[in-house]
Symmetry: C2
Subunit: 128 residues, 2 copies
DNA sequence: CTTGACTCCGTACCATGGTACGGCATTTAA
DNA sequence: TTAAATGCCGTACCATGGTACGGAGTCAAG
């Protein structure tokens, strides 16, 4: 089954411009244009865009997705490497966000115990 | 004490261009230029840039920092509001990263138990 | 008094992931 | 058959947080 670009976009819930953008980024190949008429997008392309969106959902950047796609028929160990790198990046980000949460929470606690509206502990904490 | 832009940059460990960028963004005011010669940056500006960098460290965007700076002499409750918004954004991001961590971890577990190098469970999970 | 280092300023460019627009071609429904 | 709706394509633009560059002016050391 083949579809026009806007049908593909509708089916996948993405913007038409996003599909064009992926073509420009060579994440998908643009179907040949018939001598006259509109391009037809094969199911393979639809699946590929779905793949891209899922991988993005796993936190991969488009560059990394390109990498994954090129690894399609490659040894599992290479994909694993990429995923492991991603996982440690995620763990680092989690750690730093947890610290941030802590700091914000304790600053807000100070605010709650503060009676002087004109002097904010948060502003104070940011000053030298 | 006053300093040239590159001394300020060195003291703060930031790029000279970053200081100019903050001036363009009106996060700091550019000191008056002497009739002849180079600008001198007062300590007040150095402190302000330090404030910006600390607030960034708390996860505030430059727009939010501008907001904080404008709230400098304002009621604590307004700063609190901003910080509370930030905190819930952080909590949301934490939740979504935790989910991501889970998914990556279980996909990697599948890889570890996989004997078929040519068929990767991760690639498989991304396909329709 | 020259040379090298620094400043000033406007402007352009970087990554990231898209979004928007304008003008023309084509298709589809009335 | 004709008008509205889509497609095609190049290009420009969005936010975010800077970084780089080129050609002046200026300063400080030798």
């Amino acid at each position: 089954m083949t579809r026009t670009i806007s049908e593909v976009a509708r089916v996948l819930g993405v913007n038409v411009e996003t599909i064009r953008f992926y073509e420009r980024k060579r994440l998908i190949t643009q179907p040949n244009k018939p001598i006259t008429g509109f391009r037809h997008y094969p199911n393979k392309t639809v699946d590929r865009i779905r793949f891209i969106k899922r991988a993005q959902g796993l936190g991969f950047t488009l560059d990394e997705v390109a990498n994954l796609l090129s690894l399609d028929d490659r040894p599992c160990s290479q994909v694993q490497d990429l995923a492991e790198q991603k996982l440690s990046a995620v763990k680092e980000k989690l750690a730093s966000l947890r610290r941030l949460e802590e700091v914000l929470q304790s600053l807000l606690a100070l605010c709650h115990n503060n009676n002087d509206e004109s002097c904010c502990p948060i502003i104070h904490s940011l000053q030298p």
